[in-house]
């Protein structure tokens, strides 16, 4: 079983629906019921709740999945404008994997997490933009989640999973282009160009499996 925190800022005026769709996509693709899952939405997207969720894992490894706004130095939400994961709280993420589709956190937050010996990080160094039309939005969301889903459902390392993700992105860019939808193709390609990851030691999903019989 995996310890997983999902932060989905579904109350955000602009991207709330997108955050909701992202989580809904993830739960359709993965058997989330089998996870030790702490889902934080709406008013719960606050640093105290993230800290409380981490504490509940009792020093076991965990994965934080973040669907929200992002700044260079922090993951932010409607109810945590200063951030629910910040440079200051980075030490709590030692040995964890942080996976986000938020803007910009690949610039500073990633470095802080790496310095604090997190096991892995996946995110973006630029402004991640998504189309407003739902069916197009879902393709962008599928790209953004591909690496995580591959990581949790195969024995690929995080780096190998991100390669699968990059290939998937490129396939979708080609599909949009072949339909002469060049703006979306160009935008998706730009999002891909912002994608960065850190893989401390060729981590695999097995590194995050927690034996609850031994911890309870």
């Amino acid at each position: 079983m995996f310890n997983i925190i999902v932060v989905a800022d579904d109350h955000d005026d602009l991207i709330g629906d997108n955050c909701k769709l992202s989580y809904s996509y993830l739960s359709n693709e993965l058997a989330v019921a089998s996870f030790n899952l702490r889902l934080l939405t709406g008013e719960d997207c606050k640093p105290a709740n993230v800290q409380e969720a981490i504490a509940s894992f009792k020093n076991e490894k965990f994965i934080l999945i973040a669907y929200s706004h992002g700044q260079a130095h922090a993951l932010v939400s409607t109810y945590a404008q200063d951030g629910y994961v910040t440079l200051e709280t980075a030490p709590h993420f030692k040995s964890s994997l942080v996976y986000t589709n938020s803007c910009l956190t690949g610039l500073q937050l990633m470095q802080a997490l790496v310095q604090q010996e997190c096991s892995g990080y996946v995110g973006y160094t630029g402004r991640v933009r998504v189309p407003d039309r739902k069916e197009d939005e879902l393709i962008f969301i599928a790209c953004e989640n591909k690496g995580l889903i591959n990581f949790l459902t195969t024995d690929d390392t995080l780096t190998e999973s991100i390669e699968v993700m990059r290939t998937f992105y490129k396939e979708q860019v080609k599909k949009f282009s072949s339909k002469k939808r060049y703006f979306l193709a160009g935008r998706l390609q730009r999002n891909l160009s912002y994608l960065v990851h850190y893989d401390q030691n060729s981590i695999k999903r097995g590194d995050f499996i927690v034996d609850f019989n031994s911890t309870v």
Binding site: R127, P131, Y182
Partner: protein, 209 residues
């Protein structure tokens, strides 16, 4: 297949029908047609015409001196405030008499060409043709054309949103492309160029099999 229309050629000069301009206007109308060449003695009328035709490619020939005053600098600013996609060719008398500060503003404000009034009509036509080629190759101009082809209702709808807090309609994008007041315009231009580069670099068509 759609045909590409000629650009509008807009001459703004307080004496646009002067003998000095006669040969130039003849050359321009021969090259682009009577309906595409428009002359304005009053700067405000010229600016109004440009505002009403921003959906098309426009090349402006703008005189600097109006009734003894260097009003052309102000006209230039008003045009570029509306859109950077309008190609402005500045026509002036003796270059040494042009105020250096205002000359700097013209260059920094992306005036496309500076031509002295004693240049022949044939030479000015060549410059206009180069401006036409320049406009035809601009990606931002092509994006502008694409946006303007969309259904007017769709222009008002959200088109793209960002996970750090901003959404854009196609009209917002159009404004950003024309004025450069938001990076989204330049981003979209760069996206299309990058996509074209990727597609060309991955092109597997063979010249000889």
């Amino acid at each position: 297949m759609s045909t590409v229309r000629s650009p509008y050629i807009v001459l703004i000069d307080d004496d646009s029908r002067s003998p000095q301009n006669e040969a130039l206007v003849d050359f321009l109308t021969s090259a682009y047609g009577n309906d595409r060449v428009h002359l304005f003695d009053e700067p405000d009328d010229g600016i109004k015409f440009i505002k009403n035709h921003l959906s098309e490619r426009i090349i402006v020939l703008l005189d600097i001196m109006f009734n003894g005053k260097a009003e052309g600098f102000n006209v230039f600013k008003q045009i570029t405030n509306e859109s950077n996609l309008v190609c402005v060719i500045i026509m002036t008398g003796i270059l040494e008499y042009v105020d250096q500060k205002e000359l700097k503003e013209l260059i920094n404000g992306n005036a496309w060409y500076l031509v002295t009034r004693d240049e022949s009509a044939r030479e000015i036509l060549k410059i206009v043709k180069r401006a036409d080629e320049h406009l035809a190759m601009r990606v931002d101009g092509a994006i502008e054309q694409w946006v303007l082809r969309q259904n007017p209702e769709d222009l008002q709808k959200k088109f793209i949103k960002s996970r750090n807090g901003k959404s854009y309609t196609l009209l917002d994008i159009l404004r950003a492309i024309r004025t450069g007041d938001d990076p989204i315009g330049q981003e979209m231009v760069n996206d299309i160029l990058q996509l074209a580069i990727t597609m060309i670099s991955e092109d597997e068509s063979l010249i000889n099999d």
